[in-house]
Subunit: 274 residues, 2 copies
């Protein structure tokens, strides 16, 4: 088994948690109290990490939220990554893929340059567009399979003449393309009925399950249907549902307390499956 899976499995078993915290950090949404600081987004992220470290096994940085602010945002991304607990899995949610020589450059960016443990990628362009990512056999590569959004009906859920749907075809090819257990897939928590069927078709595959919280997916069903028989191969991501607690905060500590309560509640609900 590879280094990234080993690392996250150890955390999953010791914490009895599948919680991945999504750092979709938006300057327009972070509490007022951070705005007077020199690097509001970085300080916000550090506070979220401090408040969730006990409960989370992974952190997912949504690249769009950093890229939208250009160099300044990417510097915040880099510092956030450097400040993550070393025992947690770091995921770049970037949904990249291109022709082979270009995908190789994206793999270099996220794995060699920034140093993430894991990356989300998009399957549309097929095998040679994903191969450069799978070449990294100590990392985890999460391929989009069945996503949480309404648009999943447009293509992902379309039936192919071969008798399976497109997302099932992706699932089956990803299982062939992986090396050394480095493949994972993204399956939305809003798709709980298909989640059970996908888990059955791919017993050992690592699942990244976003869509709990703001998008309306069920945590209970994600946990019940998404984990494999050893309860080791799934992460349930919550972004807005943790990092933006209701209310206004007059201190960093009170913000961290509110975030911590959110994370602890989710952690608690997950423990029932262990």
């Amino acid at each position: 088994m590879n280094a990234a899976r080993n690392k996250v499995n150890e955390q999953i078993l010791s914490k009895k948690s599948l919680l991945c915290v999504g750092l979709d950090s938006d300057p327009d949404k972070i509490p007022e109290i951070f705005h007077s600081m020199q690097k509001p987004v970085l300080e916000f992220n550090r506070a979220v990490v401090r408040a969730t470290r006990e409960h989370a096994v992974a952190y997912k940085l949504n690249m769009a939220f950093y890229e939208s602010r250009g160099i300044e945002g990417l510097l915040d991304m880099q510092s956030t990554l450097e400040n993550l607990p070393s025992e947690s899995l770091s995921i770049a949610d970037a949904k990249r893929a291109d022709i082979g020589n270009t995908s190789r450059k994206y793999a270099e960016a996220f794995f060699d340059h920034w140093g993430f443990d894991a990356l989300t990628v998009a399957p549309y362009m097929g095998e040679d567009s994903l191969e450069p990512f799978f070449d990294y056999d100590q990392k985890l590569i999460f391929v989009l399979c069945l996503t949480s959004n309404p648009g999943s009906a447009d293509f992902e859920e379309q039936q192919l003449q071969s008798g399976t749907s497109l997302y099932q075809a992706v699932l089956s090819k990803v299982q062939r393309w992986e090396r050394n257990g480095n493949a994972g897939i993204v399956v939305g928590a809003t798709k709980s009925s298909q989640l059970r069927e996908i888990r059955k078709a791919a017993p050992g595959l690592f699942f990244l399950i976003p869509g709990v919280g703001a998008q309306g997916g069920s945590l209970q069903e994600s946990a019940a249907f998404g984990v494999d028989e050893n309860s080791q191969a799934a992460l349930i991501n919550v972004s807005r549902g943790i990092i933006y607690p209701e209310g206004s905060f007059d201190s960093i500590e009170s913000f961290e307390d509110a975030v911590s309560v959110k994370a602890a509640r989710l952690h608690n609900e997950m423990q029932s499956i262990f």
Copy 2:
């Protein structure tokens, strides 16, 4: 018609050229002569732009080649973009898309923050993942349709039960989702037989056609089959086939001459369709 299309159409008609130069600038491949400079990639890009400006109507920056070098690479990307001729279309080849609120951030990154005229996006996640891009009705959005790489057989060319292939389904939906003529598609030059059929199904859609040169696509066929009846709605991208001329160069001028010869030859071949 929107601002980006107006701008590039004007160039296409005045230069009688469909040439888009792809700045896939790799520090390992740029001539020795640039390496002693303070910003080798930026100076290389500036030389390529000077050498091709007369022939090209668009420049495509392949984001992976800049992201792979982190902040330093992105600063080169930013300066390159600022140095492009204002009359040329600037395309970010980024192949982004995610759930709606995330795609909105990517759109902000490329259109509002960096200020590109056009962007490539990936269709797998469906309508709501692309809507935030199409909301920019003065920009051009190129959706992946049928790509030039072998992996296009894995999913893009799969037949759906509805009787069309996946890429045809993408083509048909993109035509419904566009606003104000801001939609384009990416079709590989290596797919000349399908290119003719796609053009027939989408007479006014803007085509970005990569794959001529290193990937083996035919310029003649791309030009003949890819343009619409007004010869205004296609760009043929060449990256490695222009920016890496054979030989070694003892001056920037001799490098620019070699690049210019390559671009002029391609430009010349294109003029026959006007």
